[in-house]
Symmetry: D3
Subunit: 223 residues, 6 copies
């Protein structure tokens, strides 16, 4: 039952980087308003914006053993994604594990549990999105699995899926959809540029999106 | 049922600015420890301190259509205040709407729901107090109302009421009370200046506020 | 029942400062993964790292009278620790009380309730760990006690216990254990330095901690 | 600031009783899907269904003095509605106060705080909807007000408004709207009776509400 | 994007009924301590114990249109499972929909949102596990999907998976694993019967499970 | 560090039974409005009212091994009290452990975590107050301690302290105070009987407690 899958297919690095540049809100719109992880996940420091391939970790509550196992599976450009098998806020990850993850080329950690050493994580510029900040340590007694499908913060995540994360939160893009979503996000960004310029000049969304007739038809009254 | 009230009476701009300079905690004390919105509302970035006239929005869960309608009603110095008709954390507002609101002269947004593009909002210095940060988008299918009385984070807010917001949260001052509260806040700030100087020199609150006799009468024992 | 205990034994100042330099996560590990206060306590501004002797306060909900009483008991190097007798998020503490506490030499406040004036607290560099940020004020009507044992955020705290706090949260060290824990923390920090260097060079935790045999014995399979 | 308003206008008793028989969900629909208090309010025992005129209470956190004051204002058929001035879960109300309220003819209590003696409340069949069950007692030190407008669980409530409550929660109907809403609720109940019979026979909502064309137009695909 | 999948493969009815008799805790253990949905899901009335095939529904927040669509897909023995596309507590389901679902042979509803008419649901003995009880109604404006894979309360659920639910909560068993898990649950129930008899006679778990040596080896000290 | 203390001093059985009959709210008042455990602890079934001597358990998250160890320490009239070393909602306890605990004479369980088999627990009439109901199982890998002082739901509890629990929640009475508190509770119950009779006849609390003068002095105005 406790397994480490070593062979993970990843999306094209250029596609991943395009998704990273687009940011979470745009990627989420580009794939039809889906894929957002729950708002309980927050960046432990503000200002990072990354995308990478998911190395998934299913770990017992209060036990971070599998993080050590997972780091061996990391390739440059990957993002660790951990979901506990039952809800937990303990500090699974701190500056030593971050040092090790960075040395392997990891771009960040998404964890539906707690982390610690957050001042050091910020100093190292290692991005983490977590459910909690907690100095409470963990044990290394019970196995879990690495690179199996997991549910993290309400979304299903498979190893190799693309994870995008920034100050707005985290979104997952299926590996098979990544190229298509990246292209849609690219187009969307360009369109937003145009809209932003028009709105900045004072044009109203009501006019730009041609909403007045439909509002009227639905029965909106001005008084 | 779905209406846009176009004629909003606002408080005197100088009164509003006095309230803005006083800050939330002082304004709240000046009006008798009332008016604070719930602590679930937090600034999406730290450091803003504003006051403005409320443009109120009652919107369905997961539907931001009325924000577009409301922005047309904004005059320079206004603050948008949105309450969903049932609890929701979706991202109703992002950098495009902020661009539009800024172009109309809005000073900020208070929303008992979610917003996104928070890095951009901070870069634009557009202040937002929200219940959540969420990239999860919304639809434009169901009407709501603009400039009707709403309940936001546990306080009743009428269009034209003065909203003050800073890192401590948000407080509402009834339009009719604004001049009186602003004057009391001004006096209070001056008094606090004096108290601060005395406390900084080491004088105790026990002495400065003359508390010792009353503590003794209530039965406090030193051992 | 309402008492102020004036005679508080404190730990050795050098021991306290060693604990302060070690930080919360390390201190917590050094005393056997115990002593963390709950994650509901968060710094109201990021970047402080302190240790000090606890001046404890048991206060009624929505009543901050005892804070004034407690400040008289503060000696340089102390940290105020307040637990309400029933759950409360009101703003018990702001910039005036902080001015007074600073004048007495207090190093910070830990409070399982709310505080306000957080922009000023940051400007003054007065560190606070609280459950909430709230401008909602309090009254001065009901007595509590100072320097009695309290439960704060799930931990028992006696007056004179050492409180360590940083961006990871808060941990308590019993006064009688402080010297021993400080020594263990010092050793631990030195060891972590070595480990960090090895991990930074790419050595895996799996090898550095010699985990492979035990993982295999427990049944972990690589596929 | 602390006042007791003694003159409360109430809705017609028959109207109130019609609303009580209709139940919360139906009344809420009958007035256009508005008026529900937040889901944090739950019945302390299951099975009650009542309606009555609101006697409103604004009380400090952890202080139940104003409940004693309010009970004098109760007339047969009234419901006590209490909102604390800041969030609180203490047990404001127990079997003694319930005995007194019952003797005055009160039909129940709605409270955005805690109550206790819930086994006795159930034995007495005194209905209570509360935010918490808590044995934690309160003091009688600080004034509040009776029969002023309050915000309870996210809804504005004026003295004399009609409160309906059952196992689904609580809804408020403005006094001035009560007769109209009661009539709409009565019609609605009759219509539901017919619909229920058709659905029970196996007719689908898709057909009964004629939804298929609109679903098709919106783009729903069957595969 | 909005689809209704009409062809759902279901597990063997006898297997489903065996799982239903075993109950949630036993089924969860029988499949290796996996599959529990989050504790936020609670029965709206106590005492039901059911199992059935999942008819899955992905619905927008505050919009219950897809429930009407889903009921047409129900076959006798099915359980409706609804997850909103973003968090919502509105009352999606009440006694009319329950009447219709019962008429189609549904055995219950699992919903990560709210329901209403809970007194009627109990009277009808229609079992529901929900995140909230709320009279707040919904609209019928936006499409969703039926019988696509969903994430409900932290678990991935495919149409046709077996859902077991009782007073302990809800667990999902993959359709392909159902027969195997049912057999293991059957064996487990028999073993528990034996253990229960021995424990009832006063035998200790320490002896029955032969734990003393391992506790001693781990270092447990009796003092 | 992991110890089992075998020698627990208990309060007098008659004192314990007097406290049990008084109920949680009365006991809490009798000892000066102190000792209530947090409202997060709720009975898993309604109607039990018990008192007993605490057998305390400190257990790791997701690991119920120490419950088996603790049951050996139970004497008739004891109540098991478990606090996890970090927050956890897993189901530590079910019908097998309850069978064993009952066979040893335990009167109940108070646990700041989850339990399961709640239908069976009710059928057996074994009372449990817990933070959660969860079928999610636990492991037996990591030691904890039995009969050491713990913090449970915000209260310090020593082995042998008296635990009282009913539908209102849980309160702890120090062993050394138990006789005194029991006597005060007995007196209080008698007084409440008299008050209840007077209130039932329509006498107001305002008069019975002689509150009018003090309300007037504080400034309450009737209008």
């Amino acid at each position: 039952m406790a397994v480490v899958v070593q062979n993970v297919r990843r999306a094209d690095p250029e596609v991943i980087d395009t998704l990273g540049r687009a940011g979470v809100a745009t990627v989420h719109e580009a794939q039809g308003r889906t894929g957002c992880l729950g708002t309980l996940l927050r960046p432990v420091w503000r200002g990072a914006q990354v995308a990478g391939s998911a190395i998934t970790i299913s770990a017992p509550p209060g036990d971070n053993w599998m993080l050590h196992v997972a780091i061996e599976q990391v390739q440059p450009g990957d993002i660790l994604v951990l979901a506990p098998t039952s809800p937990c806020e303990d500090g699974y990850f701190g500056d030593l594990l971050a040092t090790s993850a960075l040395a392997r080329g990891a771009r960040g950690l998404v964890i539906e549990a707690g982390v610690r050493d957050v001042a050091e994580l910020q100093a190292m510029q290692f991005p983490v999105w977590s459910k909690a900040i907690s100095a409470q340590g963990t044990v290394k007694e019970t196995l879990g699995s690495v690179n199996v499908p997991i549910i993290c913060a309400g979304q299903s995540i498979a190893p190799g899926d693309v994870i995008c994360a920034d100050d707005d939160g985290v979104v997952v893009v299926r590996r098979a959809d990544a190229a298509d979503v990246a292209e849609k996000a690219r187009v969307r960004l360009a369109q937003e540029q145009v809209k932003r310029a028009r709105l900045a000049k004072g044009e109203l969304g009501l006019d730009m999106y041609d909403m007045r007739a439909r509002l009227n038809a639905k029965g909106l009254r001005y008084i």
